[in-house]
């Protein structure tokens, strides 16, 4: 399931290093979100943070997708397209086998549940924010800003959560010695 290359010179074969990588990535993502949230919206500085967060998410998405086989939203089975299903063909090393497909699907389902819960929380919060901002006659732009910021982790999770779940849970690769 894991391609286990190195990230910044650190091998991703041991689970410990993968967990550290996931934890650091999500901590940075959270820190960026909180930073954008506390930068006052009436200052132009916040746009820079949003661009920085977007760039960070893009890089994270590329790195996470490169670490785990066939989990990106745009991954397709090239071999199937070439053979057009006319003849049986050997499985490409980069294609997941039935166990890998099963754990990938389970990870995607877990990610979907987290995302669904997060979306429900955002919309519930939006309902109360809206009522509170109307009641206290606060600027609507603040409410919009808060919701925009809360939507950013949604994008991050949609792009990286299935891969993060697999990186977190898969055992050490050397554990499965080629014997």
């Amino acid at each position: 399931m894991l391609r286990t290359p190195t990230v910044l010179g650190i091998s991703m074969a041991p689970r410990k290093s993968r967990r550290l990588f996931v934890a650091v990535t999500y901590a940075v993502m959270l820190a960026l979100t909180v930073t954008i949230l506390i930068v006052p919206p009436w200052r132009d500085k916040s746009e820079g943070w949003i661009i920085a967060s977007g760039t960070f998410l893009g890089v994270c998405s590329l790195v996470f997708t490169s670490l785990v086989k066939q989990t990106g939203p745009l991954d397709i089975h090239g071999g199937e397209l070439i053979s057009l299903g006319l003849a049986p063909r050997r499985r490409n090393q980069d294609e997941p086998d039935e166990r890998e497909v099963a754990i990938r699907n389970a990870a995607c389902f877990q990610a979907y549940r987290v995302l669904a819960l997060y979306v429900i929380t955002i919309f519930t919060a939006a309902f109360f924010f809206d009522a509170a901002f109307l009641a206290f006659d606060l600027r609507t732009s603040v409410a919009v800003k808060v919701l925009e910021v809360l939507a950013m982790p949604l994008l991050g999770m949609a792009l990286t959560l299935p891969q993060a779940a697999l990186l977190w849970a898969e055992p050490d690769v050397p554990e499965e010695a080629r014997v």
Binding site: E98, R99, A165, E176, V179
Partner: protein, 99 residues
Amino acid sequence: MAYDSNFDARSGAALYNRIAVLRAERGLSRSALADALEVNYQTVGYIERGDFNPSLELAFRISEYFGLPIEAIFSRQPFRPLSEEIYGNRKSPRGGTSK
């Protein structure tokens, strides 16, 4: 603990197998068996340990590869050791039956 995606294993419907024994008998590495079965070598390890129950199609491929009936490789009951199955009912040289 590995990502538990195996609903059969989770519900307690464990499937026992003799793949490790058969592989050792034939001097096959996990990698060689995995190549023959067109799966990842880690998947062979998962199946051997009972952490993943293969599909019926893969189980038949394993059976065909070893040239044995499927029930000789997979079972819902724990397997007795092969030595016990072969020699279990023979009389011991001292007159008794070995268990």
